[in-house]
């Protein structure tokens, strides 16, 4: 098996993952809609997964790829619970705008 990183280079994947992660952080900070905030968290998780696979290929070790499966399982559980929370927030408040969640402010 030929290593694909001989043609692309690990630096390109590092830069791609960094930019994707920063876009996710920007989404969390910029948007007020809670669903878009969840999507930004998914983008960040995907950036990290991509870097895991890139370094698994770098070291020629399948353990990095196996870790991606656990990361996916945690992401699926997080999205299920988070969207259920959003549905119940929407029932109580009537919107998913995070600037309306001020009940703990006093």
């Amino acid at each position: 098996m030929e290593n694909i990183l001989n043609q692309i280079g690990i630096e390109n994947y590092i830069f791609l993952s960094v930019l994707l992660f920063c876009i996710g952080i920007f989404g969390v900070l910029y948007r007020r809609n809670a669903i878009i905030v969840f999507m930004s968290i998914e983008i960040m998780l995907n950036a990290v997964n991509l870097l895991f696979v890139a370094f698994a290929t770098y070291w020629q070790d399948p353990k990095g790829e196996v870790f991606v499966f656990f990361s996916m399982a945690v992401a699926a559980a997080e999205v299920a619970v988070g969207l259920a929370l959003l549905v119940s927030v929407f029932r109580n408040i009537g919107s998913v705008d995070i600037s309306n969640l001020k009940n703990l402010k006093g």
Partner: protein, 173 residues
């Protein structure tokens, strides 16, 4: 410039632009569609690494399960009109500042670290294959057997929690 590099740049451009459009578009349904395209291009990146099983699992889990969950939630809340309130200017300015500073700092850090020279090592075997992954995942000596079982418990708890949280309360008006 080799063909693989051209494919990589093409996929990366689509990934970054659709990730940005996910955040930028005002309609949540459009955001979800852009996010599906972003996930498909990330699966394309996995295919470039020759990790076919991971690419298929990624498509099934993300583009299949998670995005359907997102789309149904959006439709359940009837959010397809853009009713986002006007953001305060300090929020926008702060978000853009953090984005520019963080991304430039990280890119500069990785640009000025020691660059990799020479050939990448190859073991000569297909370590992305299902056989190898299954051995690593389910081997009871030095594998990931116990975390695998705990992942199943985590998914079960998440399922029960989601059902409990989104259940309608009977004691309402």
């Amino acid at each position: 410039m080799s063909t693989v590099l051209i494919i990589f740049y093409f996929l990366s451009a689509i990934t970054l632009s659709t990730a940005f459009l996910t955040i930028y578009s005002r309609n949540p349904i459009h955001s979800a569609i852009y996010l599906v395209v972003c996930f498909f291009t990330i699966a394309g990146h996995y295919l470039l690494f020759n990790a076919q099983f991971l690419a298929v699992v990624h498509v099934i889990v993300y583009a299949g399960a998670i995005m359907v969950l997102f789309l149904f939630t959006i439709m359940l809340m009837n959010l397809n009109n853009e009713d986002e309130v006007h953001k305060p200017r300090i929020t926008r300015f702060g978000a853009i500042t953090v984005f520019v500073l963080l991304s430039s700092a990280l890119v500069l850090i990785f640009m000025y670290t020691k660059p990799f020279v020479g050939e990448y090592p190859t073991t000569g075997e297909d370590f992305h294959s299902i056989k190898k992954l299954g051995t690593v995942l389910l081997d009871d000596k030095d594998g990931f057997m116990v975390p695998f079982e705990f992942a199943s418990v985590l998914l079960l708890v998440a399922m029960i929690g989601a059902v409990l949280l989104s259940k309608k309360e009977k004691t309402g008006k």
